[in-house]
Point group: C2
Chain length 158, copies 2
Amino acid sequence: MNYFEDLEIGHVVELGQHYFSADFIKNYARVYDPQSFHLDEAAAAESHFGALCASGWQTGGVWMRLMVEHVKSETQKAMAEGRKPATLGPSPGFRDLKWLKPVYAGDTITYFSTITGKRESVSKPRWGLVTHHNTGVNQKGERVFEFLGTVFWERRPG
Amino acid sequence: MNYFEDLEIGHVVELGQHYFSADFIKNYARVYDPQSFHLDEAAAAESHFGALCASGWQTGGVWMRLMVEHVKSETQKAMAEGRKPATLGPSPGFRDLKWLKPVYAGDTITYFSTITGKRESVSKPRWGLVTHHNTGVNQKGERVFEFLGTVFWERRPG
């Protein structure tokens, strides 16, 4: 990863894609969101969603995995180029999460992250605080998911 | 569930408790958040968290399950008493999610939900829109998680 100082406002990263199979949706729903429209095709067809669709919290969890994989990949790239990679700290939370459209079984969601702001941390001089706007877009180009995240980001040493 | 008209601002519901075992944390993290402090005790001890802790998105997923179970239980109670239960519609999203403290392996989190606002939907006359403030509290009484949710809630017919 680049250091806090190198981050450019407006920079967009494509984090990756995920195919939501019916089994993937049901496996999550059994443990975390056992509503019939996340568990059973026939019941989902009768619901306001009209077809089997993913729990909104699963759509968020997949964003997390793709972000983690992106950070690992960037870290490995920096090390391969002989640069010391910056590390990310914890996230204090996020704002304005929206589930804009259902994510149906068979959908492929592409996730994007755009850096929208950064400021130095007053209390933690090693860190900056970065805000990033994240979206999920389905194979029809429809935005299905978005939120505004915040994360601590390492500053360049010295 | 009660109908939209019967909901009282300020009413608090205890949704239930969940014990976060190390295996529960790791099983989620393998699929959705493969960072070392969610997967491995020794690596977590070296991290800024100091011990194995749950992915923040898993803390949210457990809230979802307990909310679903609460709604099912209230619906069954209404039917047993011969009342027609109200149904909940989809959630358009939520605001201001905060991960205030880590949820460590061995923690038991109790989740609460407080109704903080309601208004009639202009575009969907069958529904009201309800806001609810949700929290997770650990066994020491420390708040670890909170967010402000929104959900469509059925109005009394007629």
